[in-house]
Amino acid sequence: MKNITKLGAVSALSLIIGASAAFAEDIKVAFIDPLSGPFASTGTNGLHQFEFAADYMVNEKGGLLDGKKIEVVGFDNKISPKESLIQLQVAIDQGVRFVVQGNSSGVANALTEAIDKHNRRNPDSRVLFLNYAAVDPALTNDKCNFWHFRFDANSDIKMDALTDVIAADDEVKKIYVIGQDYSFGKAVSAAANSMLKAKRPDIEIVGDELHPIGKVKDFTPYSRKIVSSGADAVITGNWGADMLGLGRSIIENGFTGPIYTYYGAGSGMTAAFGDSGKGIIRLISEGQVNPPPTPEASAYYDAFSAKYPEGNIDQTRISNTIGMLAAAIEKAGTADDVVAVANALEGMEYESMWGGTLFMRPNDHQLIQDMHIAAHTNEGITYTFDSSDYGVLVESTVEMASKDSESSCEMKRP
């Protein structure tokens, strides 16, 4: 009995896998991120931005290498490392040579290790890992490898830029650091402590704490501590529901200073903060949406909004990723030999439509770019988020942030 079932099951399996393996001509990019479950909104939005970037920047302009198109294929990893590895295998079997992923450093870590092993064991089907959002510094330090490229600034770089801005603000005397209890939250906390100490020894860190990730129902007790501590500013690396819950709770309980966030905009958050977050929520990120940096960027955003009226471009690095990948493929003259493409990416300088120059640092594959501190507001906003009246407006910029920062990466090249 079970054998028959299994036979049927496996034939169904091969049918489905086989069915979508038809287009070998296109350059396939596997997007491995959550498309279902609690983090699906971020993932789906990211997939839309990738698809749009591929169409708008490459395919509609005639493609690459004599007409090859970039096809972005979504793979639902349900934010599970295990599922990510299965989907990676499926993607590789479908002829994918480029993998993009960003949500969760845990998944990124699993993928980068798996890809390293896969490339070692299967030199015929090597793949590149283009990480567009996982910011754990380790990925370009101790755990770096030749196949991994990061297009977002890592959390240390972001903190470096952020503390530059804070250091310039004499009003700030007391800072509260709070984050989720896992590697990224700890990295943010460590970086904030060491960098503030170096740049502004007079600033007192009045609170530094971690809360369980994804489990806190009510942030009130934490906000009480923050308010009572007399902090002038809050720094948090929280994302998702933890970010919104924390932010709302802090504001609701009477805090009026700036809350510096890594992920405090988009994905419904901007709409949910609405008026209450105005003048309080700050976002540290790459890429500038408001005011629009270039006419090219405006045209791009307009076209995106026409296609996805409810979508945001809250990750400008996505178009940078596609743009740099396209440039690298053109330069290497091949989309099949990923080593050549990787070599082309290393050290590449790229003019982003979102402003500034991007530089892929060869020694650790970390992209160096301008960092911006933006404020959540409804004034002077051209491109709003979440179909609300609110968006983020750039207040200050750190150019080529952490260009000369140290990296412990010992790159092993094939």
């Binding site: 009995m1 079970k2 054998n3 079932t5 099951a9 490392p81 599922e83 845990g106 026409a306 296609k307």
Partner: protein, 446 residues
């Protein structure tokens, strides 16, 4: 709560092999000999099938998915030792698999020791660690069954899952612990570089574990587990302590869960928080139930079906969880014996030699029914596409057909398919019912 209600929890006839394979009129001697050969057949077939599958499906993803199925099979069978055989409902069984897996990862990272053992025996260590944890937790959780056991399992599961991000030294925090299986001592020259080699390793372990778990259910303590599940008090008056019977089942289940964790470690070379969390524990409950808790092979079917749903269906649609949820509801409402129960329902008809009578009525009812359901699924997909697809992106593809979801025609077609399909199924259902009772009644002319 769970096992006090003898009428329901376990469908009648919890021991299929005995009922099916023994002829009541035969003497016990002959019966034993007969059942020996009969019991061996499925195992041999399964082993042969597992051996030739990679020849049929050579690509790595099929192998990966089959490995995932195998791991789930071992885990689900281990889980069913508790739920099906022992009547213990656990909400935190992932931790035993997880801890076994983490232990294996740490062994992989102990380079000297790992280089001195062949990879194939690594799951044994996983099993031992899973068993060790089960021995500790079982010492207080198996004192009673029912709600108390279920809730302790939930609490302990949550605690250990929470520890995974707090106790970084063992669980590696959010990133988990990773290693490289190829550093083990080569096994007859095999280094397990390729997915196919791992497949054979996993397949061998599936057969071994399944056989051992099957044999376990035939041992005195395995038999008494059933007795305690059905009637703990009576078991006490037969000289057995219900608590210790449950404890042994629990520990054995922990061992095989740990083996599953070890296989996971070998396949994925990384263990993370998700191997421990309550979602994984919930999934294995669903898998086991979907397959059918009343039959030994039920969880095997459940594992295969669920892995396909989760991995393959999610490649085709974002709504896979929606369909999975619907399937669970439908199963639990209409076939509480699970898929295995559904299959075993047909055994009497086969024994009476009347199964043939069911073929035509089945075709008449199930085919239109299936078409209707697919039509319904198409409507769901179209609604989803209509609502959530990008502006201007009107084209969508389902069932290898591409069309414009914003035009009326596809809606009419899908709607008509649904209505007609389900309508015919409904109309022919009474005939199927008649055929069913006809096929299941002994005697009768024709």
């Amino acid at each position: 709560m769970t096992n006090k209600d003898p009428r329901t929890d376990i469908p009648k006839g919890a021991k299929p092999s005995e009922q099916i394979m023994t002829d009541p009129s035969k003497a016990s001697e002959r019966m034993r000999a007969g059942s020996m050969t009969l019991t061996l057949v499925p195992w041999v077939v399964a082993a042969v099938l597992l051996a030739i599958l990679p020849q049929l499906f050579t690509n790595n993803s099929a192998l990966t998915i089959m490995n995932q199925m195998s791991i789930t099979i071992v885990f689900a069978l281990a889980y069913n030792m508790l739920l099906g055989q022992g009547g213990m409902l656990s909400f935190g069984h992932a931790v035993y698999a997880g801890v076994g897996g983490f232990a294996c990862m740490h062994i992989m990272n102990m380079s000297d020791f790992f280089a001195s053992i062949p990879l194939v025996i690594l799951p044994v260590f996983g099993g031992l660690f899973g068993m060790g944890l089960a021995m500790i937790v079982g010492s207080f959780s198996t004192r009673s069954a029912g709600t108390v056991f279920a809730m302790i399992s939930l609490g302990v599961g949550e605690l250990i899952a929470a520890c995974s991000v707090i106790i970084v030294a063992f669980f590696g925090g959010e990133e988990g612990v990773s290693g490289d299986r190829t550093y083990a001592q080569p096994f007859f020259g095999v280094e397990f570089l390729q997915q196919e080699e791992v497949y054979y390793l996993t397949a061998a372990w599936v057969i071994i574990s399944a056989a051992l778990m099957y044999l376990w259910s035939r041992t005195p303590v395995g038999r008494m587990a059933n007795a305690v599940r059905d009637n703990p008090e009576r078991a006490e008056f037969l000289g057995y302590s219900s608590r210790w019977v449950r404890y042994y089942s629990f520990v054995a289940s922990g061992f095989f869960a740990g083996v599953a964790g070890g296989l996971f470690a070998i396949n994925y070379e990384i263990l993370t928080e998700e191997n421990l969390n309550t979602a994984s524990s919930g999934v294995i409950l669903l898998v086991t139930f979907l397959g059918g808790v009343g039959f030994f092979f039920g969880p095997i079917i459940g594992a295969i079906a669920f892995t396909l749903l989760q991995t393959v269906l999610s490649l085709s649609t974002e709504l896979w969880a929606f369909y999975a949820g619907s399937l669970f509801l439908a199963t639990v409402m209409f076939f509480p014996g699970g898929l295995a129960g559904l299959i075993m329902m047909h055994v009497p008809a086969f024994k009476l030699g009347k199964a043939g009578k069911l073929v035509m009525p089945y075709i008449k009812t199930l085919l239109p029914g299936a078409i209707g359901i697919l039509g319904l699924a198409a409507l769901v997909e179209m609604t989803f596409h209509y609502r959530h697809a990008a502006t201007g992106d009107d084209e969508m593809t389902i069932f290898w057909t591409t069309f414009d979801s914003h035009s009326l025609m596809p809606w009419i077609i899908a709607g008509a398919l649904t209505l007609i399909g389900l309508g015919i199924a409904r109309a022919t259902a009474p005939a199927l019912k008649d055929a069913w009772s006809e096929a299941n009644s002994a005697g009768g002319a024709s």
